[in-house]
Amino acid sequence: MSITTLLFILGIIAVVATIAIVIVRVLQGRSRFRVDIGSPQPQARSAEDSSNNDIGFKGRINAIGIGVLAILATLLARLWSMQLLSSREYVEQAESNRLRTITTRAPRGRILDRNGTELVTNRPSLTVVAEGTVLDDEFEIQLLANVLGMPRAAVRRKLQDTVEGAQSVRTVCVDATRSVVAFIAEHSDVFPGITVEQRTQRSYPFGSLAAHVLGYTGAVTEEQLDASRNSTDNSSIQYESGDTVGQAGVEFQFESVLQGVRGERNVYVDANGAVTSSVTSLPAVSGSDVMLTIDASIQQAAEDGLQHAIEMAHQYGYVNCRKGACVVLDATNGDILAMASVPSFEPGAFIGGISNDDWDYLNSEENDYPLMNRAISGQYMSASTIKPLTAIAAINNGIATPDTPYYCTGYWTGFGGAYGQYCWEQSGHGDMNLHSGIIHSCDSVFYEIGKDFFYSDNREGMQEVYREFGLGTPTGVDLPGESEGRVPDAAWKWRYFSAYSDEDRQWKGGDCTNLAIGQGDLLVTVIQMACVYMGLGNRGTVWRPHVLKSILARDVGTVADYTPQQILKIDEPASNYDLIIAALKGVIYEESESMTEHFLSLSHEVAGKTGTGERTGEDLTGWFLAFSPVDTPKYVVAAIVEEGGFGATSAMYCVRDVLGQIYGEPDLSEVEVSDATR
């Protein structure tokens, strides 16, 4: 029996006994005890009462005495209930009164290029934040605007910005100066709801370099918060409102590595919130660094190369040209040495919360969606770059041999005169075979192959080879947002055009000829095509393209290295590879003198292919794919320039610039490419 219970029982006994004795004494009349308030009539004097002036005093004073005791008993009863019965509850409240958990944010891991150059790092930043309630105080907004030197409307807009969540504080000013911070601290009475926080901000020493690969960070969203709260996995990160998390690119992909573990300190505070003592303390663990396969210098070359290509496109009259992408792979292991996409953006704009205006700008069609990584998310028709695969399919299906003769008049009428199709060279290529057909990208040769497939037993032989080389399937690159492309076939067409008549949903001969030259419904991504050419150059071996090289823990060094994964082992006869590689080499060195001129200054041989996509209502989109050296490929470079004209007159410049940077042999040729294939 606890002491509380004992006391309780004793208390009850005492009270009952008291009441009982008082009642008994009063009933027996033994008591002179009388209770009365006021004196309605003169009191009868008892025999014992000899006092002549004691008229009713005794009863009234007794009543007062009982009143006093009743009051004290009431207080005790209440104290009993509070201090014994509900004490635990109050103790908890007292504890929660003074116990606070202070979290310290872990510095986010850095992102390095393959040589250890910092692409993304952290810097300390004093940030002025405000409660949403400040919005109601016009005077305070004006004052804040004056102190920060910002227009009032801008401050108001920042306050209205709920990107970080409706309940959380709004970031008003990142990187506040010391004097501003001091002023706000000194005049905290006129700045209710405004505080200065010491935060670390992402810092981008190279500005927008590799922006699409690196991605950006932002305040954790409500969905991410919910997901982390509902997560049953104990090892997953528990986010708090206001946390900075990766929202795109490597920042998003390797969030769990970069994030680190928040430090927690349980402290006792006084009524003013000042810490009086520390109870427990768990230091923050900073996030690990991520080392990428990206080479900053090649990345720079790829981005500059794209700009160069776009400028050249403008020179050739393609004034709408604004968009493009470039990927550089290491053919021996799948390392992504560079990945560029245009238009690009400044990841720094996201520091401290991006403004609504900037966000709208980055997500609008008229600005060409700068946040989109066209190298992995953009889906394009492959155009002529698919022709080597079509040739392989033709050989494998007995539709053609390396010696099969073709003749190009410039206008192909394989399906009859009513269904004639032009070769891009409308004057005709004359005598052709598979080798020269690839070099000159002769459409007539591949129309014929497409027609033969349409009438063959294996109508989908081309699609088989495309899929064999990985088209229609994501490469599994370690970046978010990869598209899978599309290899169209009869079943797909039937499904896709379900709203059309049965006749229109049929797979036609024209579908085959379109597919053979990479037009029509075939969709590929730049990274897929880079992998296709890696497979061709490597004679079957395709490594998974990846940006992760290793993970480095602070002060410890490498904790994990990326192990290259072979995703495809394409089993083709050596003769096929011999034919294709020779033809791709021929594209560079035989097809066009003016284009060859640009590659002669390179000490390593290059094999490649141009491509030019046509879509109604748009300017031509140029492709250029290359690998080098030809015999034992080390590098694969893929570039696309949207609405930039022929591949040879746009994307080629980008590829050449990248190879020039890799080999240290810049393109010195001033020759304008004029007679190149499409």
């Binding site: 002491i3 509380t4 005492a14 006994a17 008291t18 004795i21 008082v22 308030i37 006021g38 004196s39 309605p40 003169p42 006092s51 002036n53 004691d54 008229i55 009713g56 005093f57 005794k58 009234r60 004073i61 007794n62 007062i64 005495g65 009143g67 006093v68 005791l69 009051i71 004290l72 009431t74 207080l75 005790l76 209440r78 104290l79 009993w80 509070m82 201090q83 014994l84 509900s86 004490s87 509850e89 109050y90 103790v91 409240q93 007292a94 009164n97 003074r98 006792y268 505070v269 006084d270 009524a271 003013n272 009086t276």
Partner: protein, 408 residues
């Protein structure tokens, strides 16, 4: 507690003597006068013992408060006790009976005390509270209304005693009520509602004990409840005069629902309750009171001193405090019963009523039984004026004892 019987006769004697029971058994024709009493006999021990214990307990609590609260100066409290003891001895030596015919002078003194803080140059605000005076040249600050409480007790007791235990003339009754209204209204002007209520309660108890008719008392009570209701309703309604100050109204609202004002008075009340409740059975010990020590409990050394005491000493400490007050007041009631003079009886009734009301109000507000008012806990709260007054009140009881037998 006086009623708890013990089986042993000896124990019963001890118990009775603790509450002054033995004194009543003195023969009526005792001819001893104060002059031939021994010093021990001229002191009423059943009151002085609990009072001194309360002072000691209070000093302990104030000392513990002084560890963390810079305003709570233990030395100043000790000086207050010293002054109080000297004043109490003076009151004890003074033959209060001479006051029974000086009602007019008592009333004047009462009025003067009430008006003092309103005189420019003398009036002084301490911690946002008016009602203080600063004595020129010495710089000593005092709350004259504290002393006025004692004067009012003498005044009302002297007036009511004239009726010899029966007030059966309505005019006389109303006269008494009006006399009591004088100090009450004056103190409301200061404004000090808390002290005003003490005076009102004390005076009312004297009138009731003095034999006012039950129906009149009940009618007066009903009228007052009506007036209070009117005042509150008027204060809460737009357009009507707001007689209660906003903070007073808020305290009443908070008393009904503490969650209304979680940062102001509601916060104070909540923190006080947490302090009391978290004390548990034995308390957290001196200096370990997190509620009071870390500043969560406001005014922990003055108005909310009971919460501090309850947090440090727990239910046991609360019981000791309430027990000491019980002992003190029951002893006084016994003394009142054995005194023959109505004036003596009524003076004692007045003092008991004052203590009882202050304890009820102060402890009650810490535990959510009463609305928040700034009334100190007798003998315990930090503050010289209060200490001086309460010790003088003990002196008044002692004086009643000392001059109990000799003819008036």
């Amino acid at each position: 507690m006086a009623e708890i019987p013990t089986s042993s006769i000896a124990g019963s004697r001890v118990l009775e003597s603790m509450f002054g029971g033995a004194a009543g058994k003195r023969p009526k024709n005792n001819t001893k006068t104060p002059k031939n009493q021994g010093i021990a006999e001229s002191i009423y021990w059943p009151v002085i013992l609990p009072a001194l214990m309360l002072v000691a307990f209070g000093l302990l609590v104030v000392w513990s408060a002084s560890l963390t609260i810079s305003d709570a100066s233990f030395i100043r409290q000790l000086i207050g006790v010293a002054f109080g003891v000297i004043a109490a001895i003076a009151v004890w030596r003074f033959d209060y009976r001479s006051l029974s015919n000086l009602t007019r002078i008592l009333l004047i003194v009462d009025i003067v005390l009430m008006v003092l803080p309103l005189i420019p140059g003398l009036g002084y605000e301490s911690h946002g509270m008016s009602g203080w005076i600063r004595i020129p040249f010495i710089g000593l600050t005092l709350q004259p209304s504290e002393l006025a409480k004692l004067v009012t007790i003498y005044l009302m007791a002297a007036l009511v005693a004239q009726y010899n235990g029966r007030i059966d003339n309505i005019q006389e009754y109303l006269k008494l009520c009006l006399t009591l209204a004088v100090p009450f209204v004056l103190i409301l002007i200061q404004p000090d509602l808390g002290t005003g209520l003490i005076i009102l309660f004390t005076g009312a108890m004297i009138i009731i004990a003095g034999g006012a008719k039950r129906s009149w008392v009940l009618s007066t009570l009903a009228i007052m409840i009506g007036i209070i209701a009117l005042v509150i309703i008027s204060s809460m309604t737009e357009g009507l005069p707001h007689i209660l100050k906003d903070y007073q109204l808020k305290r009443l609202i908070v008393f009904v629902d503490p969650s209304v004002d979680p940062t102001g008075d509601g916060y104070n009340l909540q923190q006080a309750k947490i302090a009391v409740g978290s004390g548990g059975l034995f308390g957290k010990g001196i200096g370990n009171a997190s509620q009071a020590g870390q500043g969560f409990l406001p005014e922990a050394h003055t108005d909310f001193v009971f919460a501090l005491l309850a947090e440090e000493f727990g239910f046991v400490g609360s019981c000791v405090l309430i027990g000491l007050f019980g002992w003190l007041m029951v002893s006084c009631i016994r003394l009142s019963q054995l005194c023959e003079q109505p004036f003596a009886k009524l003076v004692v009734v007045g003092v008991v009523s004052m203590w009882c009301f202050q304890v009820l109000q102060n402890v009650g507000m810490c535990i959510g039984l009463m609305p928040i008012t700034g009334i100190p806990l007798p003998f315990v709260s930090f503050g010289s004026s209060s200490m001086l007054t309460q010790l003088m009140a003990v002196g008044m009881i002692q004086s009643v004892w000392r001059y109990r037998q000799s003819p008036a």
